[in-house]
């Protein structure tokens, strides 16, 4: 591995499958931490904000019984720190004793491993958690597979926790997602903490100037400087993470990727997937600066007194009708479509529109629009609205509502948001199918 002349160092390997386990072709069996050094002066080092948690997962191209190499893992910090070994192609990581019935081998030399690279951008340098593959508190996490000469597509997920389950999977490292297709591509996830990324917030990020950012930071600094209520450590962390989220514009942020031989700098995402479940009915609008945030109610309930007081004092509640949400989506999509540097393939997970225990026969107890009171009415109207946007913008709607009903919503999506492994798997397949149908490079399924 020597992308564009960079020198690769690595830690020892941490095994994800045991010695003697049967493994399929392309199944990730272990990972190591990776460091990339460059000797050329004056060249900006890649992965400026992501180098600490850069990791490489390895998978055999041939199915069989895995045998750990004696020198692959040395345990302790030597399997976490990349200062002590160089990545050399002749290093024997282990061996595979081929077994029949595990599927055809992957193209390429049988004694070479497939690589899946992953990294995350820490919310702060101190947010360290070297507990496993892609562990840590990241405001953006991603994994990619890039083979020389192959077309490459990049998907960016910006939404609520349902996306973490579909994209990062139970492995937490995008492994399930990458097991479903063979091409070169990237999946990235921007999560919903502390702020829920609504379409309105994303549009505001795109329009935000440096002066706007400075004003937001000044407002937060002003509040904390008052010292009343005295900020606790939790308040500092919440406000820091919030400022970090407001400072960035996740749709425009470039990323670096590499293959075995080539480093590609400052790439942009090709596809964007959002969550209808993240389009909160209630937002907070800053009274003087005008920007909007959404925070999960349960997170607010656990926020420190100072941060909560800041929200109470400096923000006012805003309720959004379905038409308001539609307007926010339209504004975002029009902005995105007008800039080729932004992801042009647009997708969204819709939301479950039924509640298995709801048994209404009449609606005259509801004052005003049904969607203002009844969750299921709002979800139904929202899903219809997404259908309109699909026709207007070519939006790809992942029909979580129908898929959940097919697999059994009460068992697999009991609260309408948190799905079982089965449901996540079905959504993953549908997402890849749609990416392929929309012509996003790299994601054609096997």
């Amino acid at each position: 591995m020597a992308p564009s002349g960079l020198i690769a160092r690595r830690s020892g390997f941490q095994w994800l499958r045991g010695d003697g386990d049967l493994c399929r072709p392309g199944e990730v069996v272990g990972f190591c931490y990776l460091g990339l050094l460059h000797n050329a002066p004056g060249i900006e080092a890649p992965f400026a904000e992501e180098w600490i948690d850069l990791q490489v997962a390895v998978a055999p191209r041939v199915g069989g019984r895995l045998r750990h190499g004696a020198a692959a893992s040395q345990g302790g910090f030597l399997d976490q720190l990349d200062q002590f070994q160089y990545w050399t192609p002749e290093f024997a990581l282990g061996a595979i004793e081929p077994e029949p019935g595990l599927g055809p081998p992957l193209p390429g030399a049988a004694d070479e491993v497939e690589l899946l690279v992953a990294t995350g951008r820490r919310r702060a340098d101190v947010a360290e958690a070297r507990a496993g593959f892609l562990s840590g508190w990241h405001d953006r996490s991603r994994a990619w597979r890039l083979r020389d000469g192959e077309p490459f597509g990049a998907l960016l997920g910006v939404g609520v926790c349902e996306q973490a389950g579909v994209l990062r999977g139970e492995s937490n490292g995008f492994l399930e997602f990458f097991s479903l297709f063979r091409g070169s591509g990237q999946a990235a996830l921007v999560p919903d903490n502390p702020l829920v990324p609504t379409s309105r917030a994303l549009s505001e990020q795109l329009a935000r100037t440096e002066a706007d950012r400075e004003a937001i930071a000044a407002d937060m600094n002003d509040w904390f400087a008052r010292g009343e209520p005295r900020p606790t450590p939790a308040d500092w962390i919440f406000m820091g993470a919030t400022l970090n989220a407001l400072w960035r514009s996740v749709l425009t942020e470039p990323f670096d990727v590499f293959s075995r031989t080539e480093l590609r700098r400052a790439k942009q995402s090709d596809a964007l997937i959002l969550s209808a479940n993240g389009e909160a009915e209630r937002l907070f609008r800053h009274k003087t600066l005008g920007y909007h945030v959404a925070v999960h109610a349960w997170r607010l309930a656990r926020t420190g007194l100072s941060a909560r007081a800041w929200l109470d004092a400096r923000f006012e509640p805003v309720r959004r009708s379905i038409d308001d949400v539609a307007a926010d989506y339209r504004r975002l999509f029009e902005t995105v479509r007008a800039d080729p540097a932004l992801p042009q393939a647009l997708l969204v997970f819709n939301s479950m529109s039924t509640d298995g225990e709801e048994d209404l026969q009449r609606y005259d107890f509801v004052e005003g629009p049904l969607s203002r009171t009844l969750r299921t009415s709002r979800s139904k109207e929202a899903n219809l609205m997404l259908g309109d946007l699909a026709r207007e913008f070519g939006l790809g709607v992942i029909d979580l509502d129908a898929i959940a009903a097919d697999v059994g919503a009460q068992r697999n999506l009991p609260d309408g948001v948190h799905g079982s492994g089965l449901l996540q798997s079905e959504l993953r397949v549908e997402l890849l199918r749609m990416l392929g149908a929309m012509g996003v490079a790299g994601f054609a399924t096997a």
Partner: protein, 117 residues
Amino acid sequence: MLLTLNLPHILDYMTAASVEAIHAGVGDELERGAKLLDLKVDLTAGAAHDCPPISYYRILLRERARLTALGVSCGDEPLVGAELARFASLAPETGEGAEGRPARVAIAAIFGPDVWD
């Protein structure tokens, strides 16, 4: 006829609910569709979770009745099956069993209170 309302089993894994609002008073004569109670169901069962499964429901009356007794107040956390209210049916007597029956109600999933509430 005596009608009783017990806390229904709304969700799997639910053991109790929190009474968030009461929309009728003892003595009120209620029409079909009248709002009775708002409930919060928290499936975390006392253990803090990230992204806790908390949902809100409104219980509505599906028949005409007079509210004769309330077994809960706002803030109470009755267990599933606990008696919430009693009613006297306002429908013409049909000779059904004198011991009474469960009140006919409907359940609607609603939005929770505003965080400013």
